[in-house]
């Protein structure tokens, strides 16, 4: 079975839960920005959580099915239609052979996950089907999908038709968005006043926000603690000797616009970082639209671990509904 791409949307890529293990060579983990949503979509259509689906940002694709399949849309609120008939989100619905799946305008969030029973069956590259476009690796020919592509689909089951995820298990960012941050890395490089401002100020998601990183604007410029720059770092006070970058780390080139690195992160570089978004909140970032007011909330390691536990419990409850 296959899915014919009639329109690609804005940027739609094949994603699963990523390819860990190659960051030391600069190849990032990739995978769905909102992993919880991708897991849920797969569970809804009866797939393994790690099956490959599609991730579409802001605008949905237009897809024609060559055989009957189950489909589930999770993540952002972007209503799906089958031959013009509206379908519920976070619910497994049937698309028959010859029918076309389209999407209405985005209502909230930024990225939808589209799971198809059987999963998108492109070849694995380094253990994953996720698309890493700047490396032309994985996914469908190493790039976002395009009109007239035919996406191969594995063999699935239609047994889950009508299955749904209850409202309280659908995870969405609040308004204004809050992202919890553990200060660290090169936090000591900015003055105490700037440390306070960073968490006090309201930031807004900038237009330069994608799978590699999310840029923020609108807060006060950070001031640096004076020092002689270390040898090899470069002369700007925001420069460091090039180091690794953790996923979720927040770099602030020139002290002006924070950038949170995400699934397709660059693995290292020469800009200092003030801290890292905790693992429990990484999924929320990819659902932020440009101009969304955002606050960074300072947490301790213990709070980060407690949040991680809460998130694991939520996933446990989601899985239990499919057990």
């Amino acid at each position: 079975m296959a899915i014919k791409v009639l329109h690609h949307g804005l940027s739609t890529t094949v994603q699963d839960l990523g390819r860990p293990g190659y960051f030391h060579l600069g190849i990032p983990v990739g995978g769905a920005m909102d992993r919880y949503a991708m897991r849920a979509a797969n569970l809804l259509v009866g797939n393994d959580e790690g099956a490959a689906g599609l991730e579409a940002v802001f605008i949905g694709p237009k897809l024609e099915f060559t055989e009957d399949a189950l489909v589930a849309i999770t993540g952002a609120d972007m209503p799906a239609k089958v031959d013009g008939v509206a379908q519920p989100g976070w619910t497994a619905f049937k698309v028959k052979a010859g029918q076309t799946l389209t999407f209405d305008f985005l209502k909230s969030g930024a990225r939808i996950c589209i799971a198809v029973s059987g999963g998108i069956d492109v070849p694995e590259a380094l253990g994953s089907r996720s698309t890493y476009p700047i490396g032309a690796l994985g996914g469908f020919k190493g790039r976002p999908i395009a009109a007239s592509d035919e996406l191969p689909v594995g063999k699935g089951s239609l047994a889950n038709e009508g299955k749904t995820v209850v409202e309280e298990l659908r995870r969405k960012p609040g308004m204004p968005a809050e992202l919890r941050v553990l200060p660290g890395l090169y936090w000591h490089r900015v003055t105490e006043e700037s440390q306070e401002n960073f968490f006090a100020d309201e930031w807004k998601v900038a237009n330069e926000a994608d799978r590699m990183g999310y840029r923020f604007k609108g807060g006060r410029k950070l001031d640096f603690v004076e020092r002689d720059q270390p040898f090899g770092a470069g002369s700007d006070p925001s420069n460091i000797v090039d180091s690794c970058y953790p996923y979720g780390s927040i770099q602030v080139p020139g002290g002006t616009e924070p950038i949170i690195l995400h699934r397709d992160a660059v693995s290292g570089g020469g800009y200092f970082m003030v801290g890292t978004v905790i693992s429990a909140d990484m999924d929320l970032i990819g659902q932020l639209q440009p101009h969304t007011p955002t606050r960074f909330v300072k947490v301790t390691m213990e709070e980060a671990l407690a949040a991680r536990k809460d998130r694991a419990a939520l996933l446990g409850r989601l899985r239990a509904t499919f057990a």
Binding site: F23, G26, L137, D236, N239, C244, G248, Y271, T276, S279
Partner: protein
């Protein structure tokens, strides 16, 4: 050189061996990263060595952050005693300096540069006290470089120039990163050289371009058929300036599968190098060219 430990969220331990770059710091971080790998600490999912630091990704559901910190700290002493000797290889990389593609790109992003009136090469030559761009290129290609980190994007080498600190080329990164850099651009930021393995964002000054692919996800390039990434930390690189004709010829050779970069196995001892830098470099070059 006192080591600094800090957490990158709840999944990363970041270990800075030194704030300053030096070959000693690089060898220390490489040997500690190796020590962590060999100790098999439970819950460690990935180890990424960098220039003078390294990063460990771990699963905090398996090991508490306090415990991994304790375990990694216990490796510090043994790593300090490791012999600074590397079995590695030296490879020649052809470079077309001052090429038209990086020139077009640097003009496009001029407002993000410290000196909007010149080129990146003019700027780098001037602030490093070279009389001309040619002299600067002579210095850039005159000594070997250590690959001290692989990353940023897929397969990109960071390279550290193997000369005394006072002779090392240093330039600031762009004031704001570019959103575009040609594939295979030879760049420089801080004291580090690099080769952009793929097209994309970047903040390093741009000096030239190499015809030699260093990352190939299709694995069709003759010398990348076993693994898609060419460089490994510890590789030694020697640049060779080439002109437009030689560049075009090399591109054609790559396309036809007959490009073979000169590579020789070598052993590098940091102590010998520190005693006689020029002598060690001459010996390395001799091994590369077989004289």
């Amino acid at each position: 050189m006192s080591i600094r430990y800090t957490f990158g969220g709840d999944e990363h331990l970041f270990v800075e061996c030194s704030e300053d770059m030096s070959l000693e710091a690089f060898f220390k971080s490489l040997s500690m990263a190796k020590g962590v790998r060999e100790s098999g600490i439970k819950g460690v999912t990935e180890i990424c060595p960098a220039n003078a630091s390294f990063q460990i990704k771990f699963n905090p559901d398996i090991i508490h952050p306090d415990d991994i910190l304790k375990e990694v700290k216990s490796i510090e002493g043994a790593a300090a005693k490791a012999e600074p000797v590397l079995k590695t290889r030296i490879v020649e990389i052809p470079v077309f300096y001052n090429d038209p593609w990086t020139h077009e790109t640097l003009m496009r992003f001029r407002e993000r540069h410290q000196d909007p009136t010149g080129t990146d090469l003019d700027y780098a030559a001037r602030i490093n006290d070279y009389g001309s761009v040619d002299d600067f290129v002579g210095a850039h290609s005159g000594s070997p470089w250590f690959v001290s980190m692989v990353g940023f994007v897929a397969g990109l080498p960071f390279m550290y120039q193997m000369v005394e600190r006072q002779r090392q080329i240093q330039v600031p990164k762009y004031l704001r990163p570019r959103t575009d850099t040609p594939r295979l651009t030879v760049g420089h930021g801080g004291c580090f050289g690099c080769i952009y393995s793929v097209r994309g964002a970047g903040g390093y000054q741009m000096f030239g371009i190499t015809p030699m692919p260093i990352f190939d996800p299709t694995q069709t390039t003759s010398y990348l058929c076993d693994f898609m990434v060419f460089f490994r930390p510890g590789d030694i690189v020697k640049f060779k300036p080439i002109d437009r004709d030689a560049y075009d010829q090399a591109v054609e050779d790559v396309d036809k599968g007959r490009f073979a970069p000169p590579i020789r196995e070598v052993s590098f001892d940091l102590r010998e190098f520190q005693k006689d830098i020029d002598g060690t470099n001459a010996k390395l070059e001799g091994m590369l060219y077989g004289h």
